[in-house]
């Protein structure tokens, strides 16, 4: 084994790992407020990427398109909340699992028919010419993925810790009914969490599409690994998803180099099932207290 090959694999793997972490972070946002996640999050990533691509093709400049794309992501997130989640939460059942899968399926089929089944390149102003840093090849495009992931997660974490609205967000996560008594509307907070989660999905779409190209199935593999990351890290630790994301990403690129590219999905899935066997609430998750 060659040290620099491993380093190279680890670096490029961790960059993908950051994308998984970002999508997983989108699950955490909604899980915190409502104990629900959008099983169709991958479709949100894909649809927002397609919308951004369409806007670019219409001649809207990249930097103007970005905020519009994020807004579309937020709207899609809101739609999922309204159509798929709210009723089930009101009835206190788990119908939202099925409904978000169903909505994802609908988005998938619609995208397939509207934009076609082929993968398309996504134009970006950021160069993909490799730089050599300490013997490791890395492109500005890849760097932009890392920067983008840290930026959006940083902004949201700052929002959660430093603004009153963000603290209200955490209050709803801690005790929904008590938060209502403080005048915090849980429904609105959940809507906010879903729209933030939609924004996160749109950011993920924008960041990865130049690398993976845009197509209906672009996110299905991504989201599967994001699920693994979210469950392994636990659904309530933002720090945890980044660590696990980085770990999984590198593990994956090593596996695909040394075992075979078809097996690249395997470590994530095995890691997931193993982690569940050892610690069902996730490595960084909190163990809830049973109540009677």
């Amino acid at each position: 084994m060659n040290g620099s090959v491993i380093a190279q694999l680890v670096v490029s793997g961790s960059l993908m790992g950051l994308v998984y972490a970002l999508i997983a972070y989108g699950f955490q946002l909604t899980y915190a407020t409502s104990k629900s996640i959008n099983f169709g999050q991958g479709e949100l990533v894909m649809v927002s990427a397609f919308i951004c691509l369409t806007m670019t093709n219409l001649g809207i400049s990249y930097w103007f398109m970005v905020p519009l794309g994020l807004m579309c992501g937020a709207l899609l997130g809101l739609f999922v909340e309204r159509a798929g989640v709210r009723l089930a939460l009101e009835q206190k059942n788990e119908g939202w699992i099925l409904l978000t899968i169903i909505i994802g399926l609908f988005f998938f089929s619609a995208a397939e028919n509207i934009w076609g089944r082929d993968d398309r390149p996504f134009p970006t102003p950021i160069s993909s010419e490799a730089l050599q840093v300490a013997g490791i090849r890395i492109t500005p495009l890849e760097l932009s993925v890392a920067l983008g992931v840290f930026a959006i997660m940083g902004i949201i974490e700052l929002f959660k810790r430093k603004t009153l609205l963000g603290k209200a967000f955490e209050a709803v996560a801690a005790d929904r009914d008590a938060a209502e008594l403080m005048g915090i509307s849980a429904t609105k907070t959940i809507m906010l969490s879903y729209s933030l989660s939609g924004v996160v999905a749109a950011v993920a779409g924008l960041l990865v599409s130049p690398i993976t190209t845009v197509g209906p199935t672009m996110a299905s593999a991504l989201v599967l690994k994001a699920f693994s990351v979210a469950v392994v890290a636990g659904l309530d630790s933002g720090f945890g998803v980044v660590l696990i994301g980085l770990f999984l990403g590198s593990l994956e690129s090593l596996t695909s180099y040394y075992v075979g590219s078809g097996w690249r999905e395997a470590p994530g899935l095995i890691l997931l099932i193993l982690a569940l066997a050892v610690r069902p609430t996730g490595v960084f998750g909190k163990i809830p207290i049973k109540k009677v």
Partner: protein
């Protein structure tokens, strides 16, 4: 009785007859192919229905079990030269095996995490099947010859009949299982996993058993699938198939064998329906009208929320409207599935068969089978002679939550055959103490002994197995089960039936015994005449009594009653006193948490008073009432002086 048998079994026999005779009447390979697929899917969906319907968990791995079953049956034939039956057995066993491998970690999870782990398992299976080319032929696929059965080569018709017979067997076995103690346990653990554990029914292992069973059936269906198509590709067993399977279960209706059949029929027929424009329009139009009527009725009767009434109408409307503009409905297959599924999940949560079943029970009033006569109470409770030895002793027990020391070094010993009262102000740690003893919480430190032997820590199930039964302050009844079934569930570990006999439907005798014993306990608490009512419809007081009867069904040595009088009206309190005395006569030791002084002073031999997680007094009830520390705990330090005057202190002591 005859009418009941006729209606239920008759319908099943009729369906079987009809299904068996179609290929004789219609000689068409296409129809035969559809029918074969229908039976295979029905088997598969019965398996999936166990987890989705009975356990109430979204299982996304059934497609993987189908695939695993299919490939292992195929490999059994190609590699080992197995016959049809051995190959199918291999398929079933492989399904069970992988079901077990997945169940033990995954079933410790609830809801989304469970769904995620099954989803990952499915993806892992697909990857493995695709990549392990030396074994599976990879993406190229592998062809499977249809092996002979008992040396006989089956043609398409024969194979269909084989599938049908297997469906019949699975159907009957599942009906037997689900109407036995096992089925009741499965339903109970969805309502309250805490209570099933406390009733000595290991929640986790029962969930795993149900899941393994469902996976095994999935594997069997996989084997049939392989021999039906005689060609396998890993791409078949992925996400798309899983969505179709969910569609089948949800559309047909959960918790119903008929539902699985109807679901399978829809899943098989739907693709053909979509390719024909006219049929599609008729179908979607009917759906739209149906949603419109149901929605309007729901809105007018105010029985549904506006969203629940309107969303299916919008979804079905989109289906009708979209269908007019789209060139090829086949391309939009997934969107159409999505819209239909959405409407059903939102508008008809019980599925088509759930809806039909409600309609049918209104049309035909079926008289349920009569119950046997109640057993003798003495034989049910197994009376013991009290030994006056301590049955339970607890030493230096502590349990904190964050900064709150709920139980802070409690030592206590309960004499055999006594009624031991545990009182204290709200939040003094009474409930936490019994939650630690009964295994809901593990203690932070300290020891607990039952008959001098250490009790398991932090496992309701294992503590229950040692002969401690309890009730809950916040009721944990099995709401969906009937009153009698609630009691019968708790007897699962007491009167056992071996699984093979259950599957063959040969446990009628022990089933009647369980019924008789359950009725005896219901008589004790005065609920015998309400044995068929769903427990959720009982009034609050009756639900408390039901919990006592259920705990007694465990034949406990020690019965923990956690505030049995909370929220009871006065006549019910009197009744409660009578019941507790009767239980005590049988020599069952009782640990009683109570607020009502009346109950405590009437019943208890000894009373322990807790405050702030510590014991502040212990003694006979009349001593306790005068104990200065007790008065202080309830009234605050300033009142201690006036405590000498019993008259002035009395009203303030009462809220004890």
């Amino acid at each position: 009785m005859i009418k009941r048998l006729f209606l239920i079994c008759g319908a099943e026999a009729l369906l079987a007859l009809l299904m068996a005779s179609i290929p004789m009447a219609v000689n068409n390979t296409f129809v035969l192919g559809l029918l074969t697929l229908l039976t295979i899917y029905a088997i598969l969906l019965i398996g999936l229905g166990i987890t989705v319907g009975y356990l109430g968990q979204i299982n996304l791995a059934q497609a993987a079990f189908l695939g695993l079953g299919a490939y292992s049956a195929a490999l059994g034939v190609t590699t080992f030269g197995c016959g049809m039956l051995p190959a199918l057995m291999i398929a079933t066993a492989v399904g069970c095996l992988f079901g077990g491998v997945l169940a033990f970690p995954a079933l410790r999870l609830e809801g989304p995490q469970f769904a995620l782990s099954t989803l990952s398992f499915m993806a892992l299976t697909a990857t493995t099947l695709n990549e392990w080319e030396s074994l599976t032929g990879g993406a190229q696929g592998m062809s499977v010859p249809r092996p002979p059965i008992f040396g006989l080569m089956l043609n398409a018709k024969g194979f269909y009949w084989l599938c049908l017979i297997l469906l019949g067997l699975v159907w009957v076995a599942m009906r037997n299982l689900l109407s036995s103690q096992w089925g009741r346990a499965f339903e109970a653990l969805r309502d309250s996993p805490i209570a099933t554990d406390a009733m000595g029914i290991g929640t986790h292992r029962h969930k795993a058993a149900a899941f393994i069973l469902g996976s095994g059936i999935g594997g069997l269906a996989g084997g049939l699938y392989a021999f039906n198509f005689q060609f396998l590709q890993p791409q078949i067993f992925i996400y798309d198939l899983m969505v179709i399977l969910l569609l089948g279960v949800v559309l047909g209706g959960r918790k119903s064998l008929w539902g699985a059949f109807v679901g399978a029929a829809i899943v098989v027929l739907l693709p053909n329906l979509l390719s024909n424009r006219l049929l599609f329009q008729i179908f979607s139009g009917t759906g739209f009208v149906f949603a419109l009527i149901a929605g309007a009725r729901g809105l007018l009767a105010k029985s549904t929320r506006p969203f629940q009434a309107l969303a299916p109408v919008v979804a079905m409307g989109l289906l009708v409207f979209g269908g007019m503009f789209v060139d090829n409905t086949e391309d939009w297959r997934k969107a159409i599935f999505a819209l239909m599924l959405f409407s059903v999940v939102v508008g008809l949560p019980d599925g088509l068969m759930g809806f039909a079943a409600r309609l049918l029970t209104r049309l035909f009033r079926i008289i349920p089978a009569p119950f046997p006569a109640a057993s003798d109470l003495e034989s049910v409770l197994v009376c013991r002679q009290p030994t006056s030895e301590p049955i339970l002793s607890v030493r230096e027990l502590t349990r904190h939550f964050g900064g709150v020391r709920a139980v802070d070094g409690i030592s206590l010993s309960v004499r055999s055959g006594s009624v031991h009262g545990l009182i204290g102000p709200n939040g003094s740690g009474k409930s936490t103490l019994v939650n630690v003893i009964s295994g809901l919480y593990a203690p932070n430190s300290g020891e607990m002994l039952l008959h001098g032997v250490p009790l398991p820590r932090g496992s309701l199930f294992q503590v229950a197995r040692r002969g401690i039964a309890r009730t809950f302050q916040n009721l944990q009844i099995f709401t969906e089960l009937s009153t009698l079934d609630n009691v019968m569930v708790a007897m699962k570990g007491i009167i056992r039936s071996p699984l093979p006999l259950v599957l063959l439907g040969l446990t009628g005798k022990s089933e009647r015994r369980v019924q008789a014993d359950g009725l005896a306990l219901l008589e004790l608490v005065g609920l015998a005449d309400q044995s068929r009512i769903p427990a959720k419809d009982l009034p609050h007081g009756a639900q408390r009594f039901l919990e006592i009867a259920r705990a007694l069904a465990r034949r406990p040595q020690l019965l923990i009653l956690d505030e049995p009088a909370a929220g009871l009206a006065h006549p019910d309190v009197i009744k409660l006193l009578g019941i507790i005395r009767r239980i005590r006569q049988c020599g069952i030791t009782i640990l009683l948490i109570e607020h009502h002084m009346e109950v405590v002073s009437d019943l208890c031999d000894i009373v322990t008073v807790l405050d702030g997680g510590r014991i502040i007094a212990e003694g006979r009830p009349e001593e306790i009432k005068r104990h200065p520390k007790v008065i202080e705990a309830y009234l605050g330090a300033r009142h201690v002086q006036s405590a000498g005057e019993p008259v002035a202190a009395a009203p303030e002591l009462m809220p004890v």
